[in-house]
C-alpha cells in the first residue's frame, strides 16, 4: 500500500515507513507559540527543570493575539515571552513593529518550508500545509515538551483526497472553496485526518492555498496539505534560508475518501452562525443586515485579500450603518498596501485600518460586538460569542463578499456593487 503525502513526510522523519493509526515520536523543524499559548508553555517548560531549549533557531514566538497589548494582563503575558526569548536567545521573537499574524508571518519570513514538520500552539498552524509540509496545531504542553526535546507525538493520520477540477469563477477565491468543502463534509468531516489537495491546483494562487489549508481545522482535520508545484516553488524561492525537501504522494496511496471538487461550480459562499459548516451560496443568503465587517486574519489578511478589497472599495463609500475594519496580516503586507495606495482608498471609503493583530477574530479586542449585533468577517470561526457578546452573530465569507457587503449594508455578492 502506498503512502499519502502526509505519511510520506512523517515516514522520512521517523526513518521508516509509518502506518495510519500508529503512534510515533517525530523531530520537529519549527515550534511556534503566541501570546495566548506560549506563556502557558513557558510555565510548563520551566517545570521540566532543564536550562536550555533544544534549538534556539527552531522556536518562533509571535505575540499577535492581544497586541499592541490591550490591557495590563495581556502586557504581562507578552512580557513572559519577551523575557524567555532573551534568556534563551530565541532568534525568531517578533516585537510588535516587526510582527504579523503568525500564520501569515512564518511563511513570509521563510521560516516554514516544504517537507518540514511544524507544530504550533495555535489551531491554525495547519496553514503552512499550503507549502507541502506537515503542519499541525497542538497545545501549550506539547509546545513546552517540544521546546525541551525537539520532539512531538502524533497518531499517523489517514487522509481524505480532494481532487480539484476546472477553474475559479470571477469573485470566487480560496475562501469560497474551503467553505464549500466544509459545508459538504461538516465540521468533523475530517476529524483526526489529513486533507490532501491535488488535481488542478494551479487554478489556486499561493494565498488561496494558505486560506484553504488554514481552515482544514474547521473540518476537524489534523492538517491540510497541497501538492508542490511551480507556484509553491516561486513563493519559497528567495525566502528559504535553509535546505528543504519536496515530497510526493505514492500513486497507490490509500485514502479513506476521495472527493472531486469542480471549481467552476462554486459560487461565493457565506457561513451562517454558529458553525462554519452552515454554508450557503451567496444567491441563497437573503437580506441579512450587518453592523460590522472585518477583513483580515490568518485566513484572509494577505496581499491578494487586500487587493480584492481595494478593487471593490475604490471610489465607493462604506454604508453609514456599517463599521468596516481592515487588518493587513503582517507589517510587510501593511507596507505593501501603503505603497500600492490601498490604505488611502480604504480610509477614503470610510474603513478603519489597523496594525496586524488577531484581535477581533477571537473577540479579543479591536472590534468587539455588542449584544444582538451582527458581523460579516473574513475570519475562520463563527461560534457563539466568538467576536464578542454571546448573543452577537458572525457570518463568514471571502474578502470580496465582505467588501461588497460593507458598501451595501447587508450581505451581497460582489456582482451587485460592481
Amino acid at each position: 500500500m502506498g503512502l499519502t503525502l502526509t505519511q510520506k513526510i512523517l515516514s522520512a522523519k521517523v526513518g521508516r515507513e509509518v502506518k495510519p493509526g500508529e503512534l510515533i515520536e517525530v523531530d520537529v523543524d519549527v515550534v511556534l507559540g503566541n501570546d495566548v499559548t506560549a506563556p502557558v508553555a513557558i510555565k510548563e517548560f520551566e517545570k521540566i527543570g532543564i536550562d536550555r531549549v533544544f534549538d534556539n533557531t527552531k522556536i518562533a514566538l509571535v505575540p499577535d493575539h492581544f497586541v499592541p497589548n490591550k490591557d495590563i494582563k495581556s502586557a504581562e503575558q507578552v512580557n513572559i515571552m519577551r523575557k524567555f526569548a532573551k534568556k534563551h536567545g530565541i532568534v525568531n521573537f517578533f516585537e510588535v513593529g516587526q510582527m504579523g499574524i503568525e500564520h501569515a508571518l512564518l511563511p513570509e519570513k521563510g521560516l516554514v518550508l516544504p517537507g518540514d514538520v511544524v507544530i504550533g500552539a495555535d489551531s491554525h498552524t495547519c496553514t503552512y500545509g499550503a507549502l507541502t509540509c506537515f503542519s499541525t496545531g497542538v497545545g501549550s504542553t506539547d509546545m513546552a515538551a517540544a521546546m525541551a526535546t525537539g520532539k512531538a507525538w502524533f497518531k499517523v493520520p489517514e487522509a481524505i483526497k480532494f481532487v480539484l477540477k476546472g477553474n475559479l469563477q470571477k469573485w470566487v477565491s480560496g475562501k469560497d472553496v474551503i467553505l464549500y468543502i466544509i459545508g459538504k463534509i461538516g465540521v468533523d468531516g475530517a476529524l483526526y485526518k489529513s486533507m490532501e489537495f491535488t488535481g488542478n491546483i494551479k487554478a489556486l494562487s499561493i494565498d488561496d492555498r494558505f486560506t484553504i489549508a488554514n481552515m482544514a481545522i474547521e473540518a476537524g482535520a489534523k492538517n491540510g496539505i497541497f501538492d508542490f508545484d511551480e507556484i509553491t516553488d516561486a513563493y519559497v524561492k528567495g525566502r528559504a534560508k535553509r535546505e528543504y525537501k519536496v515530497f510526493e504522494r505514492d500513486e497507490d496511496a490509500e485514502y479513506s475518501e476521495v472527493y472531486e471538487i469542480n471549481l467552476d461550480e462554486i459560487r461565493p459562499q457565506v457561513a451562517f452562525p454558529h458553525l462554519p459548516e452552515n454554508t450557503r451560496n451567496i444567491d441563497e443568503v437573503g437580506k441579512v443586515k450587518i453592523d460590522q465587517v472585518v477583513i483580515g486574519s490568518c485566513t484572509n489578511g494577505r496581499i491578494s485579500d487586500m487587493e480584492i478589497a481595494y478593487r471593490i472599495l475604490k471610489g465607493k463609500k462604506v454604508h453609514p450603518d456599517v463599521r468596516l475594519l481592515i487588518f493587513p496580516a503582517t507589517q510587510e503586507i501593511y507596507l505593501e498596501c501603503v505603497k500600492r495606495g490601498y490604505i488611502e482608498e480604504f480610509i477614503k471609503a470610510g474603513a478603519a485600518v489597523s496594525t496586524p493583530t488577531c484581535g477581533p477574530c477571537l473577540g479579543g479586542h479591536m472590534g468587539i460586538l455588542a449584544k444582538g449585533e451582527r458581523a460579516l468577517a473574513t475570519t475562520n470561526r463563527n461560534f457563539v460569542g466568538r467576536m464578542g457578546h454571546p448573543e452577537s452573530e458572525v457570518y463568514l465569507s471571502s474578502p470580496a463578499v465582505a467588501a461588497a457587503s460593507a458598501i451595501a449594508g447587508y450581505i451581497v455578492s460582489p456582482e451587485e456593487v460592481e
Binding site: 492581544f66 497542538v138 501549550s140 465540521v187 468533523d188 481545522i217 476537524g220 470561526r381
Partner: protein, 160 residues
C-alpha cells in the same frame, strides 16, 4: 473516579468552554470561574468536585487553547466522556492529565445527574443510577503511560 454527570450536546467549542475575553490570564482558578459561561451560566454553580462531563460529538473543537481543559479540570471535573473529541482538545487533555474517554453508547445511556463510575485503565463506564455498564476503547500504551505520569511534562521530566 465517580461523580454526577453534567451533560451537553455536540460541537461544544473551546470558545464557549472558555471565551477569549478571559485568555489574558492562564491562572486555573480564574479560568474556572468562567468555564462554560457562554453555554451554560449555571455550570459554575452546579459543578462539584469529581463530577463527570458527558458530551456529544467533536467536543473541544476550534482553538488550541489549553485554557479549555485547564478550566474544566480546575472547576472540579474528574473525567470527560464524549462521543468524539476534536483532536487538539484530545491531546491537550491527555497532556495535562485530565482523564477522557470516547464511548458513544455511554453518552447515550447517561442522563444529567446520573451517578457515573469510570475506570479509564480498562475503558469501563458504569451508570450506577441506572445499573448499566459500557465498554470504551482503552487508550494505547503510550498514552496510558503519559496519563500514568499525570501528564506530558512529568513524563518528559522523567525521560530527559
Amino acid at each position: 473516579m465517580q461523580g454526577k454527570a453534567i451533560k451537553y450536546g455536540d460541537n461544544i467549542d473551546t470558545d464557549v468552554i472558555i471565551p477569549a475575553r478571559y485568555l489574558n490570564t492562564s491562572d486555573p482558578q480564574e479560568l474556572a470561574q468562567h468555564c462554560m459561561e457562554d453555554l451554560d451560566k449555571e455550570f459554575k454553580n452546579k459543578v462539584q468536585e469529581g463530577d463527570i462531563l458527558v458530551v456529544g460529538e467533536n467536543f473541544g473543537s476550534g482553538s488550541s487553547r489549553e485554557h479549555a481543559p485547564i478550566a474544566i479540570k480546575a472547576s472540579g471535573i474528574s473525567c470527560i466522556i464524549a462521543k468524539s473529541f476534536a483532536r487538539i482538545f484530545f491531546r491537550n487533555a491527555i497532556n495535562i492529565g485530565l482523564p477522557i474517554l470516547e464511548c458513544k453508547e455511554a453518552v447515550d445511556g447517561i442522563e444529567e445527574g446520573d451517578i457515573v463510575l469510570v475506570d479509564t485503565d480498562n475503558g469501563i463506564v458504569k451508570n450506577l443510577t441506572k445499573g448499566t455498564e459500557f465498554k470504551a476503547q482503552p487508550f494505547p500504551d503510550f498514552i496510558k503511560e503519559i496519563m500514568k505520569y499525570g501528564g506530558l511534562i512529568n513524563y518528559v521530566r522523567e525521560k530527559v
